[in-house]
């Protein structure tokens, strides 16, 4: 029996196809999941343009831009991992996976620093030290925390999955040849990246 082939599939290509189809549906559900937050953001931004512009100018553009670069680069390394997996190059796959995980971790570290600065500046809804008085500014930061928070949770899951995959690949416990595993992981990673590509202009370039 072929390694990595699971019941009820008869062939690996069929199983790959099913896995790819499944992850695409899952990503569609994720889009609607984030969609609720994007909808709320859009409604309030329409209602309070001045408050959103003033609040958007207070986010940390330097860290935000650095993080965007980290994530975009990580998508490139992730793609490299998927393609080397397809070409059967075990060493290259492992290297690319580790690089992707490191870039993701870098994002998380910077994000933690940013969160800390935000809290120090009182950029938290309901905080007595909240510096802005424009109507809607608190709502902006409500969505800032909810959206980046949910994105961060997704990224943590992604980094965890990458680490686990790399470890299993290194120990030879992963059936990666011919299965859709790396491709599925890659699609998830790219999705988390794409969400960030939308969050960055909405939260960081707003009001500048």
């Amino acid at each position: 029996m072929t390694r990595g082939l699971h019941e009820p599939f008869a062939t690996l290509p069929r199983q790959r196809e099913a896995a790819t189809f499944g992850i695409w549906i899952f990503l569609a559900t994720e889009m609607i999941f984030f969609g609720g937050l994007f909808l709320g953001y859009a409604v309030y931004r329409h209602e309070y343009p001045a408050g959103f512009a003033a609040a958007g100018a207070r986010t940390d553009i330097v860290i935000g831009t650095a993080n965007t670069m980290l994530l975009l680069t990580s998508s490139a390394t992730m793609a490299a991992a998927v393609w080397s997996g397809r070409a059967g190059l075990r060493g290259n796959t492992l290297l690319a996976l580790v690089l992707t995980a490191l870039l993701g971790t870098g994002f998380l570290v910077l994000k933690a620093v940013e969160y800390r600065n935000d809290i120090d500046e009182g950029l938290v809804p309901g905080s007595p030290a909240f510096p802005l008085s424009e109507p809607g500014a608190e709502l902006f930061f409500g969505y800032y925390w909810a959206m980046t928070g949910l994105h961060t949770v997704h990224l943590v899951i992604g980094v965890g999955a990458l680490g686990l995959t790399a470890w299993r690949l290194w120990r030879g416990r992963l059936a990666w040849r011919g299965t859709g595993f790396l491709h599925v992981l890659g699609l998830y990673w790219h999705f988390v990246d794409v969400i960030w590509i939308f969050l960055f202009p909405l939260l960081y370039l707003m009001g500048r």
């Binding site: 549906i25 559900t29 999941f33 969609g35 709320g40 809804p125 608190e138 409500g142 909810a146």
Partner: protein
Amino acid sequence: MTLEAEAGRGRPGQTLPRSYLGAGHSVRSWLLTTDHKRIALLYLGTITVFFLIGGSAATLMRLELVTPPGELVSADTYNRLFTLHGVIMVWFFLVPAVPATLGNFVLPLAIGARDVAFPRLNLLSWYLTIAGGVLVLASLLLGGVDTGWTFYTPYSSLYSNSYVTLAAMGVFVNGFGSIATGINFLVTIHTQRTRGLTWMRLPLFVWSLYAVSIVMVLATPALAVALLMVVVERLFDLGLFDPARGGDPILFQHIFWFYSHPAVYIMILPGFGVISEVLTCFARRRIFGYEAMVFAMLAIAIFGFFVWGHHMFVSGQSYYANLIFSFLSFAIAVPSAIKVFNWSGTLYGGHITFEASMLYALGFIGLFTLGGLTGLFVASVPIDVHVTDTYFIVAHFHYIMVGGMVTAFFAGLHFWWPKITGRLYSESFARLAALLMFVGFNFTFFPQFILGWMGMPRRYWSYPDDFQVLNVASSLGAVILAAAYLLPPVYLGLSLWRGKPAGDNPWDATGLEWTTSSPPPRENFAVLPVVDTEPYAYHADRVEPHRRGDASHRAVSQSSDPGDDA
């Protein structure tokens, strides 16, 4: 004789595959199973427990409403009771009832597959449901939730002192179970159909699971994010819907109903599929208008996403939005009507027999039609303004949810029980239960239409004296209904012990699930079947239907199962 001893009996020259029930007896073999049939039984046990909990809450409420003043429970307890009833019944009974239980069992069998596409994900779905259920039960034991099952803001996010966070997290987690089931079914139907089983040869039950899976994967995330926003607002004071900070509580209703109206179709579409299977079998008829049935279900699944605003006619949304949502709500009645007409057309000229499943199915058509027609009342803005938040609404959605879906669940459970267990239940007890359920249901809920029309609001624990007669009638009906619900566990349970062996195909039904043994072996089929005929080939084209058992008149027998009908 034990179940597995007689199960999986093969034909001469075949090895005897063991029944899925005999594939292991330890607790571990059940809790770590990836067999879709065992997972279906795990779900069956789970939803039965939740049905009893939700039903007990309903019983207490009906008891409280026997007398006009609030005597039995306090107003606050009553709030917690109807919230508990709603949350449990919607998310832990109705949503998983047919898809995750009957669907899980039948789907791979009906498409000639060995299992669903992702068996481990299937097990994970069950664990997510259990985890969500534990959270909800924890909130119940700690003191309950008083927001109503809709979790409307700003009450739920800013004011309620009950265990909203815990309950909302429970529903949230359970939602991912339902998403996983939806993904699994979609991929299964796309990739696991056996040879020759083209899209237009799929049984309507499979199509209904396909349609419901689309709704599950596209709607449930909206619920998840709505509840997540309530939870983070409570935990971190983010104020996403807080009017004091310029937030809009109505926004929550939009996101919530963007899920919860399609969720109504999650709860009724699989019922459509079950009824189509049962009606054709006991009328010995091909389905009338197969393609219209398929497209009607898909149309309902899609249109269902564009009518959520009819829950908010009195919330102050724009007049024009009301008009459009009202129009679309009328439009969605068209595919539902197509289905009812086609079921009637299927019965026409058939050899109808009144087995228990058939009684349930016929009851379904009547009750669903009543529920659907009153839906048109409330789709019309002026009438809806009059009856909003009255018992008319309560009666309307119970006709769809209980009269429709619960009836369909019982129809399907009785239809496939011999396949699931390999045993026949007592037909006379089953018929009695079906009739009692129909009578008890109407007795309970029809008076509520009148009460609502007279203006009795929902969610109150006391009411003026004028309403007492109808409330007592409704509570008496609830007693009959409760008795009817307690019967099936008794005689179905007895059938496991005393029931006659069912044989492979006790109803002489078409459909691949009936070509394998009862109960089926772990791998479902000894040899995967090949399909060369359309579904519901109960009689040849342009030939009168024949009585059951008269198999020589079948159009084409399933090619993998030569002459096993006798």
